[in-house]
Structure formats: C-alpha cells, structure tokens
Symmetry: D3
Subunit: 239 residues, 6 copies
Amino acid sequence: MRIVVTNCNTTQEMTAEIVRGARAAAGPGTTVTGLTPAWGPESAEGWLDSYLSAAAVLDTLRTYDGPPYDAVVMAGFGEHGREGVRELVDVPVVDITEAAAHLACLLGRRYGVVTTLERSCGQIEDSLELAGVGRNCAAVVGTGLGVLHLGDPHRTEAAFLAAAEHAREAGAEVLVLGCAGMTGLQQVVSEKLGVPVVDGVGAAVKLAEALVGMGLRTSRAGSFAKPVPKRRDWRPPAE
Amino acid sequence: MRIVVTNCNTTQEMTAEIVRGARAAAGPGTTVTGLTPAWGPESAEGWLDSYLSAAAVLDTLRTYDGPPYDAVVMAGFGEHGREGVRELVDVPVVDITEAAAHLACLLGRRYGVVTTLERSCGQIEDSLELAGVGRNCAAVVGTGLGVLHLGDPHRTEAAFLAAAEHAREAGAEVLVLGCAGMTGLQQVVSEKLGVPVVDGVGAAVKLAEALVGMGLRTSRAGSFAKPVPKRRDWRPPAE
Amino acid sequence: MRIVVTNCNTTQEMTAEIVRGARAAAGPGTTVTGLTPAWGPESAEGWLDSYLSAAAVLDTLRTYDGPPYDAVVMAGFGEHGREGVRELVDVPVVDITEAAAHLACLLGRRYGVVTTLERSCGQIEDSLELAGVGRNCAAVVGTGLGVLHLGDPHRTEAAFLAAAEHAREAGAEVLVLGCAGMTGLQQVVSEKLGVPVVDGVGAAVKLAEALVGMGLRTSRAGSFAKPVPKRRDWRPPAE
Amino acid sequence: MRIVVTNCNTTQEMTAEIVRGARAAAGPGTTVTGLTPAWGPESAEGWLDSYLSAAAVLDTLRTYDGPPYDAVVMAGFGEHGREGVRELVDVPVVDITEAAAHLACLLGRRYGVVTTLERSCGQIEDSLELAGVGRNCAAVVGTGLGVLHLGDPHRTEAAFLAAAEHAREAGAEVLVLGCAGMTGLQQVVSEKLGVPVVDGVGAAVKLAEALVGMGLRTSRAGSFAKPVPKRRDWRPPAE
Amino acid sequence: MRIVVTNCNTTQEMTAEIVRGARAAAGPGTTVTGLTPAWGPESAEGWLDSYLSAAAVLDTLRTYDGPPYDAVVMAGFGEHGREGVRELVDVPVVDITEAAAHLACLLGRRYGVVTTLERSCGQIEDSLELAGVGRNCAAVVGTGLGVLHLGDPHRTEAAFLAAAEHAREAGAEVLVLGCAGMTGLQQVVSEKLGVPVVDGVGAAVKLAEALVGMGLRTSRAGSFAKPVPKRRDWRPPAE
Amino acid sequence: MRIVVTNCNTTQEMTAEIVRGARAAAGPGTTVTGLTPAWGPESAEGWLDSYLSAAAVLDTLRTYDGPPYDAVVMAGFGEHGREGVRELVDVPVVDITEAAAHLACLLGRRYGVVTTLERSCGQIEDSLELAGVGRNCAAVVGTGLGVLHLGDPHRTEAAFLAAAEHAREAGAEVLVLGCAGMTGLQQVVSEKLGVPVVDGVGAAVKLAEALVGMGLRTSRAGSFAKPVPKRRDWRPPAE
C-alpha cells in the first residue's frame, strides 16, 4: 500500500527526516511518499503557522497528481487540518498527534507529551482533546527548543530528558515525542527514562496501515462529508 | 474607535450584510470597516472551508494597509482562525462564535445555537468548547440551509423556528444565531419564540468595544505570543 | 442608560469605590447608581456572609424606589445571588465574577483569579463553574488579605503580585481582580506583570451596556421565570 | 443524639411533615427537633426563594436557643445554604439533596430526581454538581406541581410516576424524591415503579447519625472555617 | 441486623482487624461477621490482585452458607468487585472506597485519600470516579508502605502524616484512610492534622445500616439485574 | 509474530470464531493462537461474569506453557482484566473494547457501540471512559440479544441495524461491534448503514501488531509495575 506523508511546513530536510521515520515504521508492503507543501511556514510554531500550514497542506493534497495512495499521514504535531483532509480525500487520514496518543493510551494509565516551544503546549492539548484522547494525558511540556533548533541531537536529547521529568512528576507513565522533527529520538530517551516513548510518525504509519488493512475509511455521515461543491480560491488573484 | 470586521468568505454581499449588522450594534463613536478576503471559499461550510478561510483571513489582515484599527471582529460562526489572529495583531480580537456565547450565558442558564447545515454543528461545538464557554450550551442544531441559501428570509425564519424548537427541548433558554448570514433575524425570531436571541456579529462588536474601552489587549504571555520571525510563504511560488 | 450597581456588603466606602470604578468604565451616556444594602455583612468572606448578602441585595432591589434603571451590576466577587436577581428584575443582570471571566477568556487561553482570603477561592471556583466559564480558569489564588484590609495600596499590590505569580505558574495568561475592593489596581499590576488584568466591576458595566444596547433581557423561559407569587417575609415579625 | 431539622420555608405544616419523615427514619436513640424559620418564603421555588430561605435558615440557627444538638439536617431540596451552615455550627450538617444522592449512588449505576416545578430542575442539578455527586445523575425531571400543591396524594403520586418514566428512559436505575414535601411517598412509588426510591429527609437523618456516630465534624481547614468576626446585620435597621 | 464484611484478601489477621473496626462503628443492634476468602491474594496491591480478589470475594459470598445477612460491606480500598456483588446478593452492598468518599464529601469541599503503595493510587481514582464521587477528590497519595507493612503503627502514622501533607496542599480539607488495614488510625492522625479523617470500614458499616434501616435495596432495573442463569465454573476442572 | 487471543469465556466455539476474525485481520507474518479459559462463565454478561472472567483469563495466561508470544489480545467487549494482564505479562496487551474505540476515533467525530444486552451498556461505557476514549462516544446501545443468542446471523443483523439507528440519532458517525461474538458482521452492516463499522477483534490485532512492530511495551513505571511477589491462591484449597 502507498501512504502519503504530508509535512506541515516547507522545509524539505524535515520532510526527508519524517519520511525516514515513516519508512522505519512501515510494514514490508508499504511505500511511503513524502509531500512538502509548496507554500506555508518553514516551521509550524503557534496558531498562525498552524492555520497557514493547514491550508497549504490541503492545497498540496488537492493538487497532488502523483500515483494513487491508500492513506494520508499528517506529520505536524498539534497542527490543524486533519478534519479538512478527512473531508477532502477518500482514504483514511491519521494525524501524528492523535496517533501517538492512541498508542500511548495502550501502554500506561497516563501519558505525557514533550514538545518544542512552550507556546505550542496549549495547541497540542486542544488537538488531543478534540481527537477524543485528552483524558489520559497527564501533561504537555515544552523543552524551549524551536522546531528548527532540533538539529543538535545532544542538546535535543538533554532538553527532552529534562522536560520528561516534569511530565513524569505529573503522572505520565508513557511519553510521546511532541514534534515530527524529534523522530528517531525515541529509542535513546526511552532507555534513559525507563519508560516507553512513542513517536507519532511511526504510530500514524502503523494506524494508517491498520485502517487500510481492515478496509476502513472515514465516515461520510455527518461531520466529514465531502466538501460542498462551490467556488474556492486557493490564492489571491494574480495582479 | 475603528473596528475591522473580517468576513470568513469571499462573498462581498455577505460582507456588506455583516457590516450592516455590525454598524447596527456599534456605539456612536465606532467606525466599522468590512474586510472581504481576496481568496478563500465563497462560503464556509465544513472544516476544509474553515481552514482555507482561516489562512485567507490571516493573509487579509497581514497585508491590510488601510487606516489603523482598534479591534478585530471575526465574522465566521464556528470558523477557525481566532487564535492565529490574536498572535498576529496587537489589538483585541473577538470571534462571533464565542461572543454570542458569552452574552448568551448572561441571559439564561443554558443556551442553544441554531446554524445552517448539520455538518457544521460539530465544528461549532468544538469552537465553543475551546473558547471556554461550551459548558452551558444545551444544543447546536442545524436548519439544513446552506450559507448561500439564507437569502429567502421567510424560508430562513421558518427553518430557524423549527430548529429552535429542538434546542428548546434540549434545555436552551436563550438562542444564538449560528451564522453571520443570519444577522438581522434576531428580532423577529426572538418575538416568535419568546426567548432572547443573540446575534454574534452584534455581540462581537459590543465585546470589542468593551475591551478597547477598558484598554485591554490580548496577552502575549504564553499561547498568543507574537509569531516567531521566520520565512512564511502565503501562496505557491509563481510558475 | 442607567446602571444600578449593588454592593454585596453594608460598607458605604466600598460602594463609593465601586461606583468610582464603574463610572471609570462606563460609556458617555451611562449613569451609575450605587446601592448599599441596608443590612447584611460589612464585608462578604465565606458562604455565610455570601448567603446573607444575597438576601440583603435582593431585598435592596425589591424595595428600591428610585428612578428606573436599565441594568443591574452585582459587585461581589464570587458572591451568591445573581440568579435570584435575574428572576426579580426585568432588566439584564451582570455579576462581576462572571463578567471578568467572560472578558478574560477573550484575552488569553487560560486566566487566573487573585482574590482576598484563601477561604474564598472555592466559592469563586463554584461561581465560575456555574456561570459556564470555569473551563479556562487555570487557578484561583488567595492573597491572605481580608476584604477590609485592602486599604493600604502598597500592601495590596505586593500581595497581588505574589499571588499572581502562582496563577501564572498554573498557566494563567490573563489575570482577574478577584474582589470588587481591588478595583483600580488593574493598571499598575498589569504593567508590572506584563499581562492583561481584568477588573470585574468595569467588565460588568461594559457587558451590561452591551446587553442593553442590543435590547437583550434575561430569558423568562425556564430557570429565570418571574418568581411565583406567594407570601414572602423578608425579616422576622416585629416582637 | 439530637438532630435539628430546618425547614427551608415558613410553612409550619411542612415542618411537621418533614419531622414526621425524619422521625420515621431516625434510630432509637435519636431525637428530632423541627425548626421553622421565622421569616422567608412560604415555599422555596426558584433562586430568589432559595437565597431568601438560605439567609432565614442561617438566622434561625444563629438565634436558636434551645437545647444543644448534635447535627443539622437541612430540609430544602436543591435549596442553598448548606455551606454557610457548615461555617456557622460546630456539628455535622447534611442537606437532603446531597444525602439522597449519596445513598442513591449506592443502589444503582445512575439515579434520577423527580421534583416539583420544572424551574427547579436546574437549581437541583447545580446543587448535586457542587456536592460532588452530579456525575451519576441521569436526569432531574419536574412534575409541574408546586410545593404547596403536593397536598393531594393521588395527584402527586400520578405526577411522580409520569415524571419518573422520563428519568427511567434517561437511564435512572434509582429515583430520588426531589422535594421535602414528598416525604412519605417513597414506599408506594417504589413498589409501582419497581426501583428503589430514596427520600432525602430520611437519607439525611441517617447520614447525620452516621457522622455523629463516628465522631466526625465539618473540617475547619479551608472552605468551612468559622465565620470571620465582623459586623453583620441580619435585618434592616428599625425605622 | 447482620452485616457481612468481606476482606479482599486471605489474611485472617486483617479480617480480624477489619471486623474490630466495623464493630467499633456498628450500632447497638448490629452484628458483624467477617468473611475471609478461601482463595485470592494475601494482600491486594495492583490490578492483578484486585481482579483475583474480586472473583474470590464473589465466590466466597456465592458459597456462603451461614446465617442470613442484611447487608454486605466490602473491605478492600480501591478493589474491584462491588458491582458484581450487587448483582449477586439481594441486600445492600457498600464498598469502603465509595463509603469513605460519600461521608468525606459531607465534611469539606474537597477530600483526599492517603493509601499504601503509589501503584494503587490510579486504581483508587478509577474506583472513586465510577462510584460517582470523584469530582471533589483533590488527590490520592501513596505512603510507600505495602498493605502487609502497616503493622508498625508508628511508622504507618508517620508515613500517613507525610503523605497527608501532600493531599492538604492539593486542596484536601478532609482525609480518607485509603486502606482497610489502616482502620483505627483515624483518631490520632485527625488530631495531629487538625482535619477530619474518615475510615472507610466504619463509613461503610454506617451506610449499610442506613440503607437497611430505610428498607432500600440495590436496583434490579438496568445495570445490576440478577446474573443471567448460565454455566459458570468457579475453578479449573480437577485433573 | 505470535499473538495470543484470550476469549473471556469458556465457550470453545466462540474462541474459534474469534480466532477466525483475528486471523482475517492479521498481517502475513502474524500467527494467532486462541486461548479458552479452563474456568469462568460460558459467556460474560454483566459485572459478576466480568470479574469471574477477568480472574480466569489471568489464570489462563499465568499458567500458559505454550510457545512464547509477542502480544496479547483480550477478546471480551467491555470485560474487565486488561490492567491486570498488563501487570502480568511483558508484552503489549490490547483489549478489543479500547482497540475498536481507538480506530473509530480516527474515522469520524463521534462513534457509537452496538452491543448485546442492555445491562452491558454501562459496563462498556465505564471501560471506554477508563481507557481514555470515552469522550467521543455518542452512545452505547443494546440489541437485547444475549451473547449466546448471536448464532442466527439474520436475527443478529436485524437487531444490530435497529440498534445502530439509535446510535446514529445520538450522533454516531462510526459504529463499533460491541461483542467479540459479532465479529464478521462488520462488512454487511457497514454497507447497509453507509458508515464504517469497526470490529474490535480485528482492531486489537492490528494495534498489537503496531505496538510489537514499533518495539513498544507496557510501561512498568507506575500503575502497571510487575505484581509484587506474594502468596496468591488461584483456587480454593482442595478439601
């Protein structure tokens, strides 16, 4: 099966990294294709970025003309857009935020999320709440590192471990990597912390494979019906 | 004071109608300017439209070069974007969804919302919940009428009254017009139903005036800090 | 328009101070009249005081024979009585507790309240919850100062700033003055804390003006119907 | 032990009826004394009545000069005041609303309340919620009968059975008599409905006996500390 | 009346201690019979123990052939089984977890639980939540002492007092002994802490007496209907 | 990988059916082994059965001496035991109740469950709530058919469709088969209803594969630590 993974920002290197993480999790028969939006923010941090990203990701999928795919994985932790993509495409859609939380719920009584900037914590809390998996979230904690400053693995790891401590004190028994750019970190921090650590990209790939394997698709009854046909301008008129 | 009212869609007639409603509610010293996004959906119905609308409204405010303003009213019932606008501008921002709910809470123990299509109900519920005013909402009920089919006032009124009945049965003691395009209907349906009916456009204008009058602005501490400076492309590169 | 502001206690100086705060917030066409109950506690701290106050305020409004008024503002932070007043009078009623919270919700993702004695915190939490605006309240924190010990502005300010720190740590991005007697403090603590600070008295005046301006009144359908005619004795029979 | 039972209204006949119900439930060593407020509403229906009643009941206990007692039972279903009485007296205080709910929780997974006027339903819901026992309440349903119209037992029984049906459909497995004036009805309606029916007056007597028997008293730490000494006027100055 | 008290484990000494506590709380006409399961864990700590205990307690009651009894008290703090026993027997069933919480709610605005091992805290939280009394629980705190290490009263008391401090800081105004093996400790720790401390065994006895005294039994309508007749094997076939 | 699927009851035919369903969902490299408890109820309906089942399933896994396995799937919809199994074994554990809900959350904004007897609905609601996925559950509806009466596929299908209608009216956009014995029904009812229908057995197999594939195991930090070593008797002493 073919899974399209959408990056939430325009940074090609991050798409490459996400695709690497997705492929590491994917089953033998799964092909992963990364999509980088042609517009949007270079990284998504905060609501303004998130809404810009949501529209750009929708536009990217709307205008996609590659080979058909079986599922969409949306790689933007805490970012908006999943419900819109569910309306747009006919295949299952899994957002890495909810995916990580769904698996984390199976591994402990409470989970915690460690993310980048503190300003993103509230957005992630909202995303988990609306996805229906907020109840068992003990804490969402920031590391103070921006998305584009995750490059130094040692600094990132140290910051993650420090923030994880706060999540643990708040009752988290399982941790979640709260940024697609952290993908790959799960092994080492899990060992150091002695608790399972869930990577959302891998989790979303696995859940997408599960849905496709079971022949399940987004419900068209109610919220996620096909968009009503109408005029939509996806960019300003050319001057 | 000057209040900018952003329409959530590209339909100029609806902007005009919203501005009329806003002016009817505005105090003597208030000037209302309507902004129609240069791109986006012609009406917002569902999440795809809503995310497209959010980006277009942000872009509209970002590129606005008219006279300075003191507050933003966002006229899109249940539509996304308010948190992003709070990051972007330095003046108070009031979304008509939350505005209507805030005032409705003061008028009865439970309120209900009557909106357009059934598919929008969940989106409105989410918007109210995150705004912190979902607790006293008894029901969000659809009329089955699309945003662009509100033109016939008799049909709209009849549909509103029928849907309002369901909200009343669910415990609503106050009703809210669940679409900016319904502005103006409040008087007649309130009389027929015998309960107060709150128009979100008017409510948001009043709340914006209140915040400006008290010298209050969005907090920059935490969630709604200024956007991090970075590269953001608001449209695809020209081919 | 004329707004009647009811003090929750019998201390005339506090009524005067509240009226000053109310007038500072009121629009040009608004007249503010302060009402001091002829009986009740000299300050309201705790539930016993609050229930005594509620009855006394109701009695004050019931026996009021001054010029007609357009709205009631109830100045008792966290004090009981608002639903009873909504039954009693035909004009909009706004309690400063809920008013401050409604505006605070528009200014940040989470707000906090700083009040007088720790014993009042629970009562305020209950009041916010029932008003439908408890969800986004991060914390209610006491300063340890009694209502009648707010006279020394330096001590009050220092105590407020210290308590505000706890609210900020709990996630509050906006603060609320949790006592009518703190009115006037908002400017200076807002500057020192770097976050917006909402005064409930001003907020309630603004919301009352908004409701009156929109022609909205309390719903008579359901909870806040007119009191059933019956015998009520508002004081013991004279011996 | 001696239990004082306070009626929430001034109607002596109702006090007598409540005392009969209380005595029927009381253990062999328990003496029940009924207290009728010297002022207040002749029946409590709605918030205005409830706040007036709360102050009158507090005044009644404050000025009580009979023999010492070991506990207070407050007989006003859904009426305010219990927290104030907890501050005032040094003995355990049990409100019949919460008492009925506490026992009902032990008898089924969800309970329902059948009360008098529909306007009282919201007040009862709030009372249960704040008492900490709202979660398992499936419904509060009105019979349409005023407190002073419960005199005809056949009509009351028929109205109760009809309303109980609605509570059962909402999931209630246990029912609660939602008015002190219904005391005595539990036997017959329980048999007809085939579910347990809890009378709040009896429940409160039993819980008061339990607390006294275990030597437990209201906590003075935090919310229900003794009232702060200060000037309190319980009625207007004599002219 | 006769109350059967079931221990959740096979340790006879603990049954004896529980029975002592139950008798101390029981009214003059109440006989207390302790039942020790013939199988199960020697102490219940964690979910595996709890489910084993639940089946063993059910088996114990199912095969009980002593004199008839009027109520069952289940002495296992936070342990599973109460709903099953409600299905099985025709008399009222009270679990000490819920019982302590019900009484604690009457004594303060928020209560806290101090239990044995930290691992049990989540199980207790779940038990309180499902019993419908979780809302006013401020905290469940572990002492780090295993059930079978409560023998040294000084160590237990010291550990309780230390853990109680955490519960108090979280807002608890009343404390609950979170283990049947702590029965008897309530007096001394209550005095040292200056807050009421509720013992679940005593509380459950009192609530059982209340229900029996009022002629109330578990509802058979809905959740707790009699078990469907069918084949059930309570142990493996003999080899 | 090898997945052990535990039936919650002693009926071998049902184990066979569950294994068929599990194998249909399993990936190419997955071996499914069914385990039928040697004791317990012949079907689990209600809490008594559920607790008996939980102990029997734990005993079955505790004494299992077959080839090693990589994950446990617990096939008992709404039945107890999952947390105990998480303590017991070192591999991931997925309960079909939570599994179905996790996938359902990805397919629509609200889901509903259609189960066997009405008496099981509350137990399922509790199970979903504690698993952290109760928020988006719109309704749990019974068909009135006992577990052992699902044999007639036409009757079962008709009953499912009728009950599904109620769930749809309550807002469910996705449905869940609320009994392991319904496995296989999903295809036909999904087509007739026009909404996705999730089978818990398949869902749990997929989630177990996902967890194993990602190298994730249950957290040992906190709730699900290894059982404390102690004496445990899994059956009565032989006479």
